[in-house]
Structures are given as structure tokens and as C-alpha cells.
Symmetry: C2
Subunit: 488 residues, 2 copies
């Protein structure tokens, strides 16, 4: 279960003050809560590419060199996508006989060579890009929804999202699709990998009619309640089919809550600093729950430093497969953590585009670069840290600290508000240790060709496969490739 | 169990990211979690006076008129204290045959007429003031620790607190005292009221040797762990004595975490704005747990708006007593909430000294005055909202909004960062409702004589009762009554 920009603080089990996620809280009570789990990027596409490849965006190409330390993703006019040279988790799982399905947002490129069924998935119901819109189908086409190889309609035309009321039944469609797939796989006794990548918590936030107005938190909370309810139904379905003890389920999110959209369309990062787009804790620390009845001791709590890339390695391990040996994999196998309560020593690298902004080792986090966003964007009302301003930390210019990194102790100071004194012994010791980790990291780092540099209006979803049958083909404008503009 | 400035976000059950409070989390899992529970003041003494009288500080005298909207408490040179005209919870419980004990911090005045044994308590082990120090016993005496009527020693002399290491065994002493009292009462089959008012989480924070260095959160976390462990021992003791089903236990705190002391000596207010001294949520929203096995359904969660004053009315109700009818009581009986899951409609009034700063009704909170602290104090490095700055909200001048209050929706925006538009219908409706509540509130409001206006060095703890036997009497300076200075 992979959420779109749900924040660390959005679940009752993580301290959300409305406590409206009984199913996810129950999942945590029956499974293991990860309190120190991270996305691979403070933005959606790179984080998703990292999850499916087990590799940092800098290695798999999901970054830009258009500017220093800029986040980039896959809007409609992006030319790039997941390179053929990357090995995706479903491609590998196939070798062990798994049937792989993606439900929801793909986000690894929408041109034909990037199609998920070309990269290991057997089935798809969902969209290649964010559900932004509605568009006019002239300047910009509405985003298609695919069933397997072909489009089956477009958002706002065939799949409604009411931007006034926030009503849409998409999560229900995605839920039914998941339940059906699970039933089918159980009936045929086939092992399966289901990547349930729903996006109701991504602006424009939506919920089904039955959930609208049910949350203390407004529309965002309605969406969370529907997702919570859906996860509960999926878990119960597994139990009713008698396969819960054979099914490993993991719940997490692709980046922190988008505070720029709060409070109506954005969630909560709890006690952490800033949100999506930043490499502060609020941008990359994620809610995370592992569930596997009969295997994971109920009520477990882990402080293992984990990342979405670990789900790649852990899934391979569960399938009895080895990770590819011809490339660097950043994920680690979490099974010893989950099943035996081990703690594996490993750092967390916080990248923003092409720059290593910060590193966490143990409870220490060192910032080598700080940046929330530019003064120019900030002046337009774009604020990734609303109500939060830590002098010298939430900077509006890109500030380099490579010679004297800003150091925080995340146990005493989870909110990154009190940098340690440069003169302290504690600072010296921690920074020395982290410097070594960076040297090791860089020694084996081979950045891929950046995939997110070039945009072209001609590559948008004008005529996706299957459009002819539906009479939904649109005329593409002439090709006009440009450097994409990534302001953050 | 009444904590000193523990924050809403300090327990695992409330989302603290280190999750180090297994006993309190277990208490919540077996009992009922209150997510919308408030202190009666953002400062210690007034909140404690309100708990024991069931009345707002403005009614029981625990406020100052030395300046507008200033917090005040009971330092050593305070002349005032709890008036004889106030009826305290233990005085009333006596009528039902209860034996009452206070362990820990009294804080309702230290002169002889304010002694807790004059106000209904039968036993006392603890101190009348905060454990600040060490003092020189010339300019200022060390704070005495009482056993019942007489002092039994002084902090830093007979009861050590090592300010370098943070080591002190005080919580262990207070724990043992609680266990012994409970055993004695159980043996004699006497009903009892135990007010366990510990202060290890109040700066200077301390913990026993066995807990030092055990927390991810530093010394503050060590103190929390020791308190968590102690509460676990008390609850297990009740169970082992077979009286847990006859004993109602409530856990909460007197004000929000003191962010001015963070991160080394202060806790966490989770997602809320600012801390102690302020009437933002971080200053007054408290962790709260009710526990009563066999009566409270396990795992309950309540959104009842509650206050520490409700513990007065609820305790009377549990003892089969009526609240006094000759005075206004602000507390309500929470038993219907706790036992039957009812929700009682009632507002929360946020006072700072003599001023009604804000009012909460349902999920709406209207600020009629805003003030964090003065520019002058802020310039000295005193910051009640470190890293947080919400334009027009966390003001450094006292800002009046009585004609156009700032309105927040605490469901969508628990952090008080996004005021509602003055022009919206939602604003109009909510403010109209709250205005009516204020009118009703003011109609019956009779402020008491302020007790916290006058300070005098002669009234300090120079020669507490029992000092002769210990050879610990000190010579008081001449009386020199002055207006106390309350900068915040």
C-alpha cells in the first residue's frame, strides 16, 4: 500500500489528534510500526522509482540537472521515464512465478517505452500521471486511466472528480480492483505482488460520497478515512480468504505531507519540520506499518532506519530471490528487523535532485545544504514550512554547510530546531562519523543519465494506446523540446 | 497522577517519535484516551488550584492584576495562596470518609495558612514550591520538603539533585511513598484519594541513576521513562492488591511542555503551537488518560472537551458527593463520558492571568487576544514558540482581537496556522456561537481577590515548621512587600 503524500502525523497510531484511522491503527497493533522510515526523495516520482528499483533516484535516473538541488517529477510533458536498463521489482518477481499488478498511480513516465506492463507488471488499472485537471484537451489533455495496455477513459471525463465538493469514487474503484485481484490470485493459487498506489490524499484531494463530511479534519480527513476503511477491507479480505499468513503487507507513503496544500488539501507531519519538497524530516519521514499475521509479533515497534527502497530488497527476500548483483542496490532486507527485532546499522541519505542535502546516522542528522524554497517562490505564497521558521535552517537561499554541517539530535530534537554547538565534542564525533559514511557512499556512486531534464508538449497523453476504440484520440502539437523548469 | 509540564506529544500513545512510554501506552490501551483535554491555565500554580477547587483561577484567586494578561504562580516570595474560602477536593472527600494524601508539589502557597493539611489533606510528602536551586540560604533559602505538618529536609541539602548529571532519586522516593500509602489504605479498607504530583519533568529535570542515559530523548526522556515506569508500578500494585476495579486513576499534566527549556529540559507538544505560558494549544492541551479496569471499556478514545477542573467534579461523583452549591464550579462530571461514551457540549476558556484570551467550542477556537511574550523578553532569548512563527498569531505585543477574533478550526488545523477568512459564512456562524457562550460565562463570573500580586522576601521558606528539630531554621530578612513582577 503506497500512499501519495500522506504525512508521518496523519494516523492515530502516529499521534494525529483526531484519531480517525481505526483500521490502520489496528494494522499497527497487529503488526510492526516503523517510526524512523523514510522516502527516497521529498517528491513523488523519484520516490516511486526508488521503491521499484531499490535504488536512489540519482542511480536510476529520476532526477534533474537543470538546476542545483531541484526536485523533479513526471508531469505530462516529461520526455523521460524509467530507463530500460533498470530492473524493477515486478520484473524480478516474475522469475519466481509472481503475478504483478499495479493499481493507481504509476508516475514512472507515460510514453510507451515506460508502460508498466513493459517493466514487469502483468496488470494495471490506474493512471500514469497525477490526477490534476480538468484540462481543455487542447492546451493539455486530460490524464488517461489505463486498464492494462490500453486507456479506458480519462479523468474528469469518464472518471469524475468534483473539485467543488471533493467527491470521487476512485478509491472505491481501486479498492474493488484490489479485492478482485486478490480473490483471483487466491483462487488460482498464484503468488502475487500488488502495488496499491492510491492518490486520494494528493491534491486535488477526493473522497467517495459516503465519506464526505465524516472527518473532523475536513476533506483531507475524509480521504484518509476512506483509505483507512479500504485498507481494513483488504486486510479482512486476506483473512477471510485464509491467506493472511502468506501475505506480507506494507503501508507507507511517497513523501511527507504537502503543507503547501494544508489545511484543506494537505496532511500532517506531526512534530517534524516542514513538508514535501524539503529534506527536513517533514519532507521525508513517513508513516510505515508492516503486517504479516503469524510471523510479525503483534504490537512491535521498530526504530530501524528504513527506506522505501528496502521494500524492494525485502520483497525479493520474501520471494526467495537475490537482489541483482550487477548494480548497486540501496535497499536492505528488513526481514531480520521485522521477524527477529534486529537493528541494522545504516545511514539515510536525503537527496534533493542531484544534491546530497543531509545524512542521518543513528540519531544524528547532518545538513550539508539547506533550502526550503526560493524567496521568489516564497513571495508568491508558496511555503513548504508554513508557521515554521528556524533561523539558519529553513533558508530561502540554497545555503552550503559542507565545511561545517548543521547537526541535529533527532531524539532530543525531532523538530530540527536546535542545532548542536559546532564546538561540542558531541558535534565533532558525530560529524566525523557521518563524513566517513559519505565518503564510502560516494566511492561507489555512479549517477545515471538524468531522466527529468527535458519537457515537450508533444509527448503529453494526446493519443494513448486504445484511444481509437474510445474515440478519445487528440491531436498532438508539434514537438518543441525544452529544459523543464523545476523551481524547487 | 498530575505531571508537571509534560506536553501533549510526550507519550507514545500521543505520537512521540521515540515511543518510550510502554506503561502509559498500556494504561491508555486498557482505559480511555482523552485527546481534547486542557489545563486551566498555561502555568503551574493556577492550574493546580483549579484542579483542586474545580474552579477557574479567576474565581479561586490564583491570578494577578499586576499587569494585563500576565501569568503568575507561587515562587518563594509570594505572599498569597489558596484562600480559606475555597473548598478543596480533599476537604469534601473527607465527608465521605476518604483519607487524602498529596505526594510531591503543592504549589498553592507555602505560608502556614496555606498548608495542605489545613485544606483537607491528611498526609503530605513533598515540597510547597518548585525544586529550583540550589540557593545560598542567605538571599534565598533552599526549598523545604515536608512530611505532613513539618519539614523533613531541604532540596539540594537533604534531597539531592545533581544539576550536572541530572541525577536525583526523588521520583523513586515519591513512588515508594505512593505504594506504601496505597498498601496501608488497602490493609485498613479505607477509601483514599492520592494526589501524586511529581515534577521530574519540570526544569531542572532529573531522573534516578538507573534511568539516566536510557532514553533517545536525553535527560528529559530519562525523566519521562522513570515516570512511565513508576505509573506502571502503581497500576500493577493496585492490581496485585485486588483494588484496581475500585480505584479510578487519571493521568494528566498542569500545562503544556515548556519549549523554552527544550530540547534538553523540555518536552513536546506534538503538532500544536507554542508551549507553556501561552494560550495556544501547545500551552494548555494535555495528555490525559482515565483508567478503571472493569468499568472503562478498554481502548476507548474520547473527543470530549475536558479540563483538569473536571477531575474535581468527577471525583466527587465517584465518592457519591454533590459539588458545593454555594459557588460556581467550572468542572463537569466526566463519568457519563467515561462510562457511557457520551459527549457533553461545553466550551473551553483559555485564560492568561486576568484576561480571557481564547475560547474553544466544538472544533472552533476563537482568539480574542494573542501574545506569546514581549519583544523585550524575546530579545533576551526567551521564546515560548521556538521555530514557530505564525504571522498575526504568535504576536510579541498584546494584540486585541475582541471585535474580530482570530478563528481556527482545530480539526483541519490543529497547529493554529491558518485563520479562517473573516468574510466566510463559517466564520460568522462560529464566532456568533462563541460570543453567546462568552456572554453566558461572564454573566456569572465573579473574580476573586487576586492572590498573586504581592511578593515579600520575608515570607520565603526561612523557618518552616519543624526546622528547629533539624537545626535548619534560617533568619528571615525584614518584611518588604512589593508588587510581584510577572513579565509574561
Amino acid at each position: 500500500v503506497f500512499l501519495s503524500q500522506m504525512g508521518w502525523g496523519d494516523l492515530g497510531a502516529f499521534g494525529e489528534p483526531s484519531k480517525e484511522t481505526p483500521n490502520l491503527d489496528q494494522m499497527a497493533a497487529e503488526g510492526m510500526l516503523f517510526l524512523d522510515f523514510y522516502s527516497a526523495s521529498p517528491l513523488c516520482s523519484p520516490s516511486r522509482a526508488a521503491l521499484l528499483t531499490g535504488r536512489l533516484p540519482l542511480r536510476n535516473g529520476f532526477y534533474t540537472t537543470n538546476g542545483h538541488a531541484r526536485n523533479a517529477y513526471t508531469p505530462q510533458d516529461i520526455v523521460g521515464g524509467i530507463p530500460d536498463s533498470e530492473l524493477l521489482l515486478p520484473e524480478l518477481l516474475k522469475k519466481a512465478g509472481y503475478t504483478n499488478k499495479i493499481i493507481g498511480k504509476w508516475h514512472l513516465g507515460h510514453r510507451s517505452q515506460f508502460h508498466p506492463l513493459r517493466h514487469g507488471f502483468d496488470e494495471w488499472f490506474g493512471s500514469p500521471n497525477c490526477h490534476f485537471g480538468p484540462y481543455d484537451n487542447r492546451e493539455r489533455p486530460n490524464i488517461p486511466v489505463y486498464r492494462d495496455w490500453d486507456m479506458t477513459g480519462r479523468y474528469y471525463e469518464d472518471f469524475k472528480i468534483d473539485l467543488e465538493t471533493g467527491e470521487s469514487n476512485l478509491t472505491q474503484l481501486y479498492l474493488q480492483e484490489a479485492l478482485d485481484f486478490i480473490s483471483k490470485q487466491q483462487a488460482s493459487q498464484q503468488p502475487f505482488f500488488l502495488y496499491w498506489a492510491i492518490d486520494a490524499t494528493h491534491a486535488p484531494v477526493y473522497a467517495s460520497k459516503q465519506f464526505l463530511g465524516t472527518s473532523q479534519r475536513g476533506l483531507y480527513g475524509d480521504a484518509v478515512r476512506e483509505i483507512d476503511d479500504s485498507v481494513g477491507k483488504i486486510l479482512r479480505h486476506l483473512q477471510q480468504l485464509g491467506i493472511s499468513e502468506n501475505t506480507f503487507v506494507f503501508f507507507t507513503s511517497d513523501n511527507g505531507a504537502a503543507l503547501i496544500s494544508a489545511p484543506k488539501q494537505g496532511g500532517s507531519n506531526g512534530p517534524f519540520l516542514c513538508g514535501k519538497q524539503t529534506t527536513f524530516e517533514g519532507g521525508m519521514r513517513e508513516p510505515a506499518i508492516a503486517w504479516w499475521p503469524g510471523h510479525i509479533p503483534a504490537g512491535g515497534v521498530s526504530h530501524q532506519l528504513g527506506t522505501v527502497m528496502d521494500l524492494f530488497s525485502t520483497s525479493l527476500s520474501l520471494a526467495g530471490l537475490q537482489p541483482p548483483s550487477d548494480r548497486q542496490i540501496d535497499g536492505i532486507d528488513l526481514l531480520p528487523v521485522i521477524l527477529q527485532g534486529k537493528l541494522i546499522d545504516r545511514p539515510i541519505f536525503y537527496y534533493r535532485g542531484n544534491e546530497l542535502m543531509a545524512v542521518r546516522a543513528g540519531l544524528y542528522k547532518a545538513h550539508y545544504w539547506t533550502w526550503s524554497n526560493s524567496w521568489e517562490e516564497h513571495g508568491k505564497g508558496i511555503d513548504f514550512c508554513p508557521g515554521q521558521s528556524v533561523a539558519g535552517v529553513t533558508t530561502h537561499t540554497q545555503e552550503e554547510h559542507t565545511h561545517l554541517p548543521l547537526l541535529f539530535h533527532l531524539g532530543r530534537d525531532p523538530g530540527e530546531k536546535y542545532p548542536l554547538s559546532f564546538a561540542s565534542e558531541e558535534y565533532q564525533r558525530a560529524v566525523e562519523n557521518i563524513s566517513e559514511l559519505i565518503q564510502q557512499h560516494r566511492a561507489s556512486l555512479l549517477p545515471a543519465q538524468p531522466q527529468l531534464n527535458v519537457c515537450d508538449q508533444a509527448v503529453m497523453n494526446w493519443s494513448p494506446p486504445g484511444c481509437e476504440k474510445l474515440g478519445k484520440c487528440l491531436k498532438a502539437p508539434e514537438s518543441d523540446p525544452k529544459k523543464c523548469s523545476w523551481p524547487h
